[in-house]
């Protein structure tokens, strides 16, 4: 089955599939960065693959190993229909850390991509809300990069530290409710 998935991707995308490896049934497919959105959309919508579940989007910093590209963005896909998995990897260079978003393919990619941006500083082109999700908004740098000092902290003493996760119109509703209560 792993061979079938690999063949199908190679058949569809040819040289955009850079490398295929299959360790003990864990299929990993490296994809050229400019085709990754097409590949992901194909993985989901192809009626033989049907990878309808985006389990995780994460990244790796290969700086200690040297070589290029420095980063890899990793997509873990699962098919609820066929019960198969695939791991899609995309090399991302340090000097231009941008990848096309997958939010329009799977909505679930939204927060995963924000996490990758927060931790590794890799931006996702076309993401609807590309900002930090785990660290506070005063944070500088990207802590899972290997050259980030592990205990370097940035103070966050803003009183509305979590309110920025609330949609502006919802925040307005909350404020008016509080004002209403205070005036009675």
């Amino acid at each position: 089955m792993a061979q079938f998935i690999a063949d199908r991707l190679v058949g569809e995308f040819g040289t955009a599939v850079e490398q295929v490896s299959d360790d003990c049934g864990d299929l990993t497919v490296w994809i050229a960065r400019d085709r990754v959105h097409d590949v992901l959309a194909f993985c989901k919508h192809d009626d033989k693959l049907v990878f309808n579940f985006c389990m995780d989007v994460t990244a790796v910093d290969y700086k200690p190993l040297g070589g290029a590209p420095r980063f890899a963005v990793v997509y873990h896909l699962y098919s609820l229909t066929t019960g198969k998995r695939v791991r899609i990897k995309v090399g991302v260079p340090e000097e231009d850390p941008v990848v096309d978003t997958a939010v329009d393919v799977w909505k679930a990619a939204d927060w995963f991509e924000r996490e990758v941006y927060d931790m590794f500083g890799i931006r996702f082109e076309g993401h609807p809300n590309m900002k930090r999700i785990l660290c506070h908004q005063d944070f500088q740098g990207h802590p899972l990069r290997k050259d980030y000092p592990a205990d370097l902290r940035w103070r966050n003493l803003r009183p509305d530290g979590l309110a920025d996760e609330i949609a502006p119109e919802e925040m307005d509703r909350i404020r008016s409710r509080i004002r209403h209560r205070l005036s009675h």
């Binding site: 785990l134 660290c135 940035w154 979590l162």
Partner: protein, 177 residues
């Protein structure tokens, strides 16, 4: 405190008002749990039937800071959460006390990292630190007994100490000096 000199009426005590108030306060602590991690599970154990914090006069756990005078911070507090902790603390009625439960709240614990307060005393004044990861229920009960002793002595809370120190500073160094 002293017994009434009247031998017929030994149920009457005489005392100073402050002592009476301190004694009453120490036996009617209303804890507010700020539970963020596994320490909060131990806290639940302490207030449940087996360890039963009610035996020590601190059983009325409130989830509103405006009804509590003892905040028990049980767990890791991240930099992102620090303003929330401070906001909740500031809403509590005075006099108020804080117990820092477990090493994460006390010093950051093993989170010597980019995202965790290295002790909640960066943000709020702490009266009692409880070591352990997590502390045993006995450990937290011991901390509460220690706090009750402190209150009965009439000692100022850490919050009051800091306030008085800053007032003294203001007298010693007037603004603009």
């Amino acid at each position: 405190m002293g017994l009434s000199p009247e031998p017929t009426d030994q149920s009457v005590f005489t005392t100073a008002l402050d002592k009476m108030v301190s004694w009453a306060r120490s036996g009617s602590l209303w804890p507010l749990p700020f539970g963020t991690a596994c320490c909060a599970i131990e806290f639940m154990s302490v207030v449940s039937s087996h360890y039963d914090l009610a035996r020590f006069g601190a059983e009325v756990v409130r989830f509103s800071p405006r009804q509590s005078d003892l905040m028990i911070v049980a767990g890791t507090v991240t930099d992102k959460q620090a303003p929330v902790l401070k906001l909740i603390y500031e809403q509590m009625c005075e006099p108020k006390w804080v117990i820092s439960m477990g090493v994460c709240a006390s010093s950051g614990g093993f989170y010597r990292a980019y995202h965790v307060l290295q002790g909640i005393d960066e943000v709020v004044p702490v009266d009692i630190y409880v070591p352990g990861c997590p502390p045993t229920p006995e450990g937290l009960i011991y901390a509460i007994i220690k706090l009750q002793e402190k209150i009965q002595r009439g000692a100022p809370s850490r919050y009051q100490e800091i306030q008085r120190a800053s007032e003294a500073d203001a007298v010693l160094e007037p603004a603009g000096a």
